[in-house]
Subunit: 395 residues, 2 copies
């Protein structure tokens, strides 16, 4: 009657959404400021004023039929050009607008790129823990999601584990740095080693293994360099989004970059364009194409996230929690105080603390604390985190 | 290296886009007003002022993190509610916000619905001539596109032909009224007969045949009633878009309605939600969710289209062209003056007339003239249409 796989995707419990729904109900019950909802990755920082200015200017300057009409499928030429120029200034590259395909956000970019680069039966490697939707997009393309563990406890990229997981069916590896959920930023030297391993594997294969670099958190790094992977490994396609950088998560605007340095770029671009068609994308939202062109060089406001991170890490460190030191993004990856992350979250919930158990990210025993919330919420939650640790010590 | 099917979709010649690209180049060469580009379906009427007002009001009234942040996957509850209320006022229905899933436009609605309602190997019927992307979405879902001819010359729905094309693999039929490319609006009595034929077929099957009603042109009807199909046949899912009604084609905003009158609606809704996930949709663009809620009862401004239609039909009728009388949408479906539509278009091009040959719509010997252009363009093109007819008469 209906497609069973789609039904399963639509009806399976999403841990993150369920916690968010519980938080909303619980806030109505006992008050906004007494519930500590760390479930979502919705930016808590407003979009920069330049976004509003760009919208107002576009409404004033561009005739309605041009402003709100269809754009070419890959986006407005002048927007793609402006964004390519911005990349060239930052990464000393020589991209043109042709290298960019504007999309309806990172999810669109990723779904299109995975669909473009894999055939049914192929394997796509993901590094655990990983963003749960990767599996959905990989499986929807008819490919297999191969989980490759990161390094134990540090959650850094293990190039050795990647090397061991490569098979003749490997089509691509998804790299996500700054990482959701661990907050890790992969070091340049690690990425160079990864590139060498992939190059070595490619020497024995007809087709190269692609790196799909998922970079929605690129601008949210607390000092660590976020390396530009196409300059390290040529078979890299970059998926970007303005959701976090400009706090535009709901507006669905981002891009896929098939760099002019990628061998056979034209073929890959056609496949990305074809995947956009097949998946039902027509063009990226037109007004926001102009907005991101106007705001391409707008710095992301990450100070609130940094402050939240420092507060949370300081307090949780003081009472003995173990966590991965977050170098980017806005998630703290904390070890649960018992082996069962769900049981730990149940206990945390008694204190109105709502992190996400690690199981849906492909590992057990940890929780993700999304600290893209008001700093007052962080501050108000600290006694509960202490109390939770105390409860476990007294067990 | 890349997915062959996606590569093919991305690299195949799109007749419509190619003509549009030619028109753009030709205009640069000989002047805007001397090229008569009838290729696209981009609205030529500005969005109503209420759209601009709604954007400005949202910027003033809604805090940035709420305005531009993620919405729930099916859309903001208050928006879905407002849109359901609007439908209820128009169609004497009792829908709630739960029946609606907001999408990134009609293409998203259709791709999601086809994915949700079919399994690989199923058949989906389309009525020729038909919008070419139907085939892409059907095949991308692993299903087979079954072409069912409309009535010869009149291009009305042939219920007999539908009946003959039903097999045990038929999962759905796509109904598109007002129709692209023929401008036909299906009569209520025809739809009632279609419903009877489907009901009869369903009696011998485990699963019902779904009607997928693709309604981007619902508001563009020149007097003919556009029947509300869920009130005629219960197994109907409606795909809608504000692209044409509010001239917002580039903003990508629409919805899927799984009506509360559809048996097993909850299961279908879950599948639609799952398809949205699998295809890479996260939520419909947030700002424009609020815009369409504010403009739900805004009447579509179709007077310019009506004027264009009357001008074009009058002049083409006078010199002996045969065409389907357009009852809705903004396309004129004209019989080519020789059997080969492409050859006819080549000759038309010599006079700077740029219609689209019918072959990509699944029939031969006709052309589509998109009259969603400036009325001056229509007027200025009339001598060329006459000259073209004269050329053929003198052959």
């Amino acid at each position: 009657m209906v497609n069973e796989a789609m039904f399963a995707y639509g009806s399976e419990r999403s841990a993150i959404r369920e916690i968010f729904a519980y938080a909303t109900a619980r806030k109505a019950e006992i008050g906004e400021d007494r519930v500590f909802d760390f479930s979502l990755g919705n930016p808590s920082v407003p979009a920069p004023p330049a976004v509003r200015d760009a919208i107002v200017r576009a409404l004033e300057e561009v005739p309605s039929t041009q402003l709100h009409g269809y754009t070419p499928a890959p986006g407005l030429p002048e927007v793609r050009s402006a964004l390519a120029d911005s990349l060239n200034r930052r990464f000393a590259t020589t991209y043109s607008g042709d290298d960019l395909f504007l999309t309806a956000g990172a999810a669109a970019s990723m779904a299109m790129t995975i669909r473009a680069l894999t055939s049914p039966g192929d394997e796509v490697m993901v590094i655990t823990p990983y963003f749960p939707e990767y599996r959905v997009w990989i499986e929807a393309a008819g490919a297999t999601c191969v989980e490759v563990p990161s390094k134990e406890m540090s959650f850094r990229l293990s190039v050795g584990n990647v090397q061991q997981a490569i098979t003749e069916r490997t089509a691509a590896i998804i790299v996500n740095s700054p990482n959701n959920p661990t907050g890790r930023v992969y070091r340049r030297e690690t990425l160079v080693r990864l590139a060498n391993v992939l190059r070595e594997a490619n020497a024995h294969r007809e087709q190269p293994i692609y790196v799909i670099s998922d970079e929605p958190y690129r601008e949210i790094s607390y000092g660590q360099e976020v390396s530009w992977i196409p300059s390290i490994y040529p078979h890299t396609v970059v998926c970007y989004s303005y959701s976090k950088a400009l706090s535009l998560a709901g507006e669905r605007i981002g891009w896929v970059l098939v760099p002019n340095t990628l061998p056979d770029a034209q073929r890959v671009r056609s496949s990305v364009a074809g995947a956009a068609r097949a998946l039902g994308f027509v063009c990226a939202p037109a007004l926001f194409q102009r907005v991101v062109a106007a705001c391409a060089d707008e710095p992301a406001d990450i100070e609130a996230y940094r402050q939240n991170r420092d507060l949370l890490c300081g307090a949780l460190g003081d009472v003995g929690y173990t966590f991965a030191e977050p170098e980017g993004a806005f998630y703290l990856w904390v070890r649960a105080l018992e082996p069962d992350a769900q049981a730990f979250c149940d206990r945390a919930r008694e204190l109105e603390l709502l992190p996400v158990p690690s199981d849906s990210f492909g590992v057990s025993g940890w929780v993700r604390v999304g600290y893209c919330v008001d700093t007052n919420t962080i501050r108000a939650s600290l006694p509960a985190w202490c109390e939770l640790a105390r409860m476990y010590r007294s067990l």
